[in-house]
């Protein structure tokens, strides 16, 4: 392990066929599996909004975003399956059985179109910031290459979110109220996406999967998004929000981590419905996979 860690510290990149310590393989696999699950769960919610999206232009971008997210899931499941710990089917079975995790934000329900805007702006931005921090210095080559694609597409989602928010901010009082309600629901889950402070011995940091501590990324997000939301005329739903003039920094006050813990145990407000819905979707599309398998079995 010491030699392997020295190799990683030196900027070494691990490829799928390389020898790697079992602990590294397991930790990287679990990280990618959770990322893949989150893309799939996020894509399915996005899909739910295609028929409900106002206006053709927005509808077409929601279609594009849905395809992006499902594509991210597809590519990440492939990278994860290549690590030969679980097959794609096993990962999906575990997801539907509630045995594996996906990001906290996909355990909540998107109630209005305002929620979708808040998600695209706040959640996609938080996901993008975490992914960029992984991409920066990721020691696992296949994951790093896929992240490059994902990051460019998440940037599109975030810009789409800000554009929609800007339109709402210029809209009617009802529209502003709807978005403020969405912000009240999504601000804290989006912030908690970064997770609690990184442990000092976090192996993902040590093995150059993550390049930045959770609390650092979370703080950067706060410094960027608090003033931005305010500039559009919205209220940040943090009762203890304060600004330190000297440091020039925003402080959102104490963070309640209980909601995050509940989502990680599949006990979030919308966890059960979302997991069942994903499972149903998997069953309903079985015929497509069966047809693919038959096509694959025909010699070229």
């Amino acid at each position: 392990m010491a030699a392997f860690e020295a190799f990683l510290d030196d900027g070494g990149i691990v490829e799928v066929d390389d020898d790697m310590p079992a602990e590294y393989r397991q930790a990287v696999f679990a990280f990618i599996e959770m990322h893949a699950n989150s893309e799939l769960m996020g894509g399915l919610t996005e899909r739910d909004w295609i028929p409900r999206t106002p206006g053709l232009r927005h509808k077409m971008s929601v279609l594009a975003k849905t395809q992006d997210e499902i594509g991210h899931g597809h590519l990440l499941y492939m990278v994860a399956a290549d690590m030969q710990i679980k097959t794609r089917e096993e990962m999906l079975e575990d997801l539907f059985a509630g045995k594996s995790r996906f990001h906290n934000v996909f355990h909540y329900q998107a109630v209005t179109w305002g929620d979708q805007v808040a998600i695209a702006f706040l959640v996609d931005a938080a996901a993008l910031a975490s992914q960029q921090a992984v991409f920066k210095n990721c020691s696992y080559g296949p994951y790093r290459r896929i992240l490059k694609r994902i990051i460019s597409e998440e940037g599109f989602h975030m810009r789409l979110g800000e554009d929609r928010m800007m339109r709402i901010a210029q809209g009617t009082d009802t529209q502003k109220e709807i978005f403020q309600g969405a912000l009240d629901r999504w601000f804290w889950p989006a912030l908690q996406l970064f997770g609690p402070d990184s442990k000092p011995d976090d192996v993902l940091l040590r093995w150059h999967i993550k390049s930045e501590r959770n609390e650092v990324l979370r703080d950067k997000w706060v410094q960027k998004f608090v003033p931005m939301l305010q500039s559009y005329g919205f209220t940040v739903p943090a009762p203890d929000l304060s600004y330190d003039e000297e440091a020039g920094k925003w402080d959102v006050g104490p963070i309640d981590w209980e909601p995050l813990k509940r989502t990680l145990a599949q006990g979030g407000p919308d966890s059960a419905r979302r997991i069942n819905e994903a499972k149903d979707n998997w069953e309903r599309t079985r015929w497509v996979r069966d047809a693919m398998d038959r096509a694959a079995a025909v010699p070229a």
Binding site: D17, A64, Q67, D68, G71, H74, L75, M78, V79, D82, R88, P142, R145, I146, R149, S152, E153, F156, M292, D293, A295, A296, V298, A300
Partner: protein
Amino acid sequence: MHTYEIFLKKDGRDEYRHAGALDAATDDLAMVMARESYIRRAEGDRLWLVRRDHVIVADPDLIAPNADKPHRHHDGSAVAARRKALRNEGASS
């Protein structure tokens, strides 16, 4: 299902570069999937797919000896030292 490795290139620029891989049932479906997963926003205009089980992978032991062939390199240090010495002589006179 087969796994395909994806290579992309921008017309008139660079070489084909490995972009990732995907799983698909047939070559035709793989082509469509590659277009919709890897060049969704014109990230390339040339596309190669190679089935992973067709890739012939070198044994590291076959390659290793070539890391130790000093006679295939020359750092030119003796010649550079002489040139430097000549330059210094010129500067001091």
